[in-house]
């Protein structure tokens, strides 16, 4: 199992807005069609809500809103990628919304370049590399970092403050 050196990396590529992203395949539990998501009140906008996956209540996250990139309308292509992560030593399933799921790719580790300092639309902390595949730039995301306790906490706080400010603003209009 644990080879001394990794040569190939399998990733799942998916589309958010018009950009291609990828995540390592090991953490992916399954990909499901978009289904009704129940919004949980008083949560930041990027937390879409919860959905029912065979009797389990699973949170669904919209990375487009989290990264502040364009949001396309829900279409037949919209999917929820269910990933499984360890959060605070607890195995947790999380749904990640994707505008489209493309394919499982095998990348040469050598071909993965470190993230550039500028030029990507999202925070470098969440990217562990970029790769070219079929003339397409794929941004590789570190899901465990995105959903780490500190990041969520921060996003939660700023998100709820933002949504509260938003409310206040809309009320006073």
């Amino acid at each position: 199992m644990n080879d001394a050196k990794l040569e190939k990396l399998q990733i799942l590529s998916f589309v958010l807005d018009d950009e291609f992203f990828g995540t390592e395949i090991g953490i992916i539990q399954e990909v499901i069609e978009y289904r009704e998501v129940t919004k949980v009140p008083r949560t930041p906008e990027f937390m879409l809500g919860v959905t029912n996956l065979r009797g389990q209540v699973i949170p669904v996250i919209d990375l487009r809103r989290y990264f502040n990139i364009g949001c396309q309308a829900i279409s037949v292509d919209t999917c929820i990628i269910i990933i499984e992560l360890m959060l605070d030593n607890e195995r947790t399933s999380i749904g990640v919304l994707a505008d489209r799921v493309c394919e499982v790719l095998e990348l040469d580790v050598g071909a993965i370049k470190p993230p550039p300092n500028i030029g990507t639309s999202i925070d470098n902390r969440f990217i562990y590399g970029i790769a070219d595949h079929d003339e397409q730039l794929i941004v590789l995301l570190t899901m465990s970092k995105i959903f780490s306790h500190e990041e969520l906490q921060q996003a939660f706080e700023s998100g709820s403050v933002a949504s509260q400010q938003h409310e206040v603003a809309s009320e006073s209009q």
Partner: protein, 692 residues
């Protein structure tokens, strides 16, 4: 499960039984049954320890068994000193079993046994068998049933007596079976004279005196025969018929020679009627049941808790599927499917209730532990305290029971340490020297209420207030009534103990208690009167996994409110468009209410007529306004998970029949949030005021 584990588990149960018996013996010394319990506990441990190779445990308990045998035989009475020593021995046995008897503990065993022999010296001339067997035989004599024959006097009806109340009183005494028969049918039928003869079989956990009491007013006139029948022998139908006077002994003997099915033969021959035989058969059934219950007083089955948990999960899934089918049946308007869905709903509810029931344990099983705690602690603190308990039979979910233990220990310690005064102080105040702490549980409004009450000094309101100001919990100008001030002791980091003792008052405490109660979806409230004592009420839900919910709708979203918190629903036109929490009039009382739509920022306008659900949180009422009340809903509670742990006001989520997820409101927390919002909005009101 392996044998040793079974032995360990069972021994702990027996040790607990021993402890409870000993503590109860302090209240009712000489109670033969309790001594028997203690004896049996030791006897069983001795036996099974030998079987699994815990020879030392077996050796040690042998001496205790002998000790109780001698107490039982009336050689000497159990003294307080003996009780204390036996309790020590009990703890020692526990350590022996837990630590598999290391040599140093075996040395202690000898010391304990030496002390035991000092207190109860072995007398040479104790044949320990014959004399005081009365305790046992009395217990034995309890096996059986009462057979009560009564023939009311023929003038009973004309004298205005009624037979039924007498029979009802007898039936109230225990499990019973009544049969009747007609006598003297030769004379012309006179509806005014009583020609009835009754036979009543009554299970025997009833003293003779209470049976006699039932006949107090009719004794002289009625023919009454009360007989104690032991159930060691099987009751034969033939014998019963003879006893009932239906057939004579000779007829019976004749029959018995010929055919086996007594009843059928007698009927065919016209000796007895169907009715008579059926009555006798019922009696037979009753007696057999009594026999069985004697044989197996408490047949129990041990099941690992994890199996119960997975059963519980499955039941949860089943409830969801069932509600999906019900919904589908309604939608398709298929009558056949509807019938099936209804039956399924009934069965599911049955399965659910039974599964819950399996998980329910009486709270009394933990009382022993508390009694011991109070006893040991009061000795340490040199206080005189007695623990009173009530509602030991109140059942609650196993998981809740496990998790309520520590908070209760903490509260009891607090009562003892801070509540109850020293005996001298109490005497000065004109109270009895012996303080009293009451611990009890009752079912109340679909919730469990646990009460911890002491007759100690009560809370020092001024000191709490002062402390709260010091800690910045309230400011000096806060206008709080005494009750509100008392609740402050549940705030984090609050402890008023002058000095830190190892019993309580380490600064962590009441807030931890509150948190653990809240994690069980419960609430806690303290009330206190200076000089008279303190009472703490804890309200807990009956179960945590599935609740009865009230489904409501706001816009397109469904929400569930725990039904236990709901008092009623009221309809009101959406008269004023004020935002935020408001006051509504309800039954001549003004209660605060909040619109769920606003609190949860759900877009859209509410309907012209809105529904307000009046909920009760501890002693307060709070209205939650929604668009529509959908109805009752069996709610399987699902955790919202780590991602949403910071969300307030929600208890979890549930899956609806159509597969969508609905959120379950934590009414108490939601109320807290609204109160907070209200405070914020009144602060900000001046800023936001604007002309329309």
């Amino acid at each position: 499960m392996d044998l040793v584990q079974i032995f360990v588990d069972e021994s702990f149960e027996h040790l607990q039984a021993l402890e409870e018996a000993l503590l109860e013996l302090e209240d009712s010394p000489g109670n033969a049954e309790l001594i028997n319990t203690a004896f049996r506990a030791m006897h069983t441990i001795k036996g099974s320890a030998g079987m699994v190779g815990f020879d030392h445990v077996s050796y040690f308990t042998h001496h205790l068994e002998t000790f109780f045998d001698r107490v039982r035989n009336g050689e000497f009475a159990l003294t307080a000193a003996m009780s204390s020593l036996i309790l020590e021995c009990r703890d020692h046995i526990k350590s022996l079993i837990e630590q598999q008897s290391p040599p140093e503990l075996m040395v202690q065993s000898e010391a304990l046994l030496a002390r035991l022999h000092q207190l109860a010296p072995v007398t040479q001339s104790a044949p320990a068998t014959a004399p005081a067997k009365s305790t046992v035989s009395e217990a034995d004599s309890l096996a059986g049933y009462w057979r009560i024959e009564m023939t009311p006097h023929t003038t009973t009806f004309t004298e205005g007596f009624d037979v039924l109340p007498v029979i009802r009183e007898l039936q109230g005494l225990g499990e019973s079976l009544v049969s009747y028969r007609w006598h003297a049918p030769d004379t012309p039928f006179n509806p005014l004279s009583c020609m009835l003869h009754f036979t009543l079989l009554l299970s025997c956990n009833v003293p003779r005196s209470s049976i006699d009491e039932a006949f107090m007013f009719v004794e002289g006139d009625w023919q009454i025969q009360i007989e104690k029948i032991s159930v060691l022998e099987d009751a034969r139908l033939g014998d019963l018929l003879v006893e009932n006077g239906v057939v004579s002994t000779e007829q019976m003997e004749m029959m018995l020679d010929s055919k086996p099915r007594t009843g059928e033969v007698l009927r065919d021959k016209g000796i007895a009627t169907d009715h008579q035989i059926n009555q006798a058969l019922q009696q037979q059934e009753f007696i057999r049941k009594q026999t069985q219950s004697q044989d197996a007083p408490q047949q129990t089955l041990k099941v690992p808790a994890s199996k119960l948990d997975s059963l519980m999960n499955l039941v949860g899934e089943l409830v969801i599927v069932q509600s999906a089918i019900s919904q589908h049946a309604v939608e398709t308007n298929d009558d056949k499917l509807k019938t099936i869905a209804e039956e399924l709903a009934m069965l599911t509810a049955g399965v659910r209730d039974h599964t819950f029931d399996i998980r329910m344990l009486p709270i009394g099983s933990t009382f022993g532990r508390f009694r011991r705690l109070i006893r040991d602690l009061s000795v340490d603190l040199k206080k005189e305290v007695r623990l009173h308990t009530f509602g030991a039979e109140t059942e609650m979910d196993k998981m809740v029971l496990e998790r309520i233990g520590d908070p209760l220990v903490h509260l009891l310690r607090n009562s003892l340490d801070h509540g109850i005064e020293m005996p001298e102080v109490r005497a000065e105040k004109g109270k009895p020297r012996e303080g009293s702490i009451t611990l009890g549980a009752v079912h109340e409004d679909g919730q469990i209420k646990i009460v911890i009450k002491d007759d100690g000094g009560g809370l020092n309101t001024d000191r709490i207030r002062q402390k709260a100001i010091e800690r910045g919990l309230i400011n000096e100008h806060s206008q709080l009534n005494d009750d509100h001030i008392h609740q402050l002791i549940f705030e984090p980091g609050f402890s008023t103990a002058e000095k830190v003792s190892d019993v309580s008052g380490r600064g962590v405490g009441m807030d931890v208690v509150k948190t653990s109660i809240e994690s069980l979806q419960g609430t806690i409230h303290i009330s206190s009167h200076a000089g008279q004592g303190t009472q703490i009420n804890i309200y807990l839900p009956l179960t945590l996994a599935i609740i009865d919910g009230l489904m409501v709708k706001v816009g397109d979203e469904h929400f569930i409110l725990p039904l236990s918190a709901v008092e009623e629903c009221v309809e009101s036109p959406r008269e004023y468009h004020r935002q935020g929490p408001r006051l509504i009039k309800h039954r001549g009382e003004r209660i605060s209410a909040a619109r769920l739509r606003e609190a949860f920022s759900i877009t859209g306008e509410g309907p012209a007529i809105e529904q307000t659900i009046v909920t009760r949180i501890a002693d307060e009422r709070f209205g939650i306004t929604v668009d529509e009340v959908v109805g009752q809903h069996q709610t399987v509670i699902k955790n919202l998970g780590k991602m949403y742990r910071q969300v307030r006001g929600l208890l979890g989520a549930t899956i609806l029949g159509n597969g969508n997820v609905a959120l379950i409101l934590d009414v108490a927390d939601f109320y807290e949030q609204c109160k907070y919002q209200l405070a914020q909005s009144t602060l900000g009101a001046n800023v936001n005021v604007k002309p329309h």
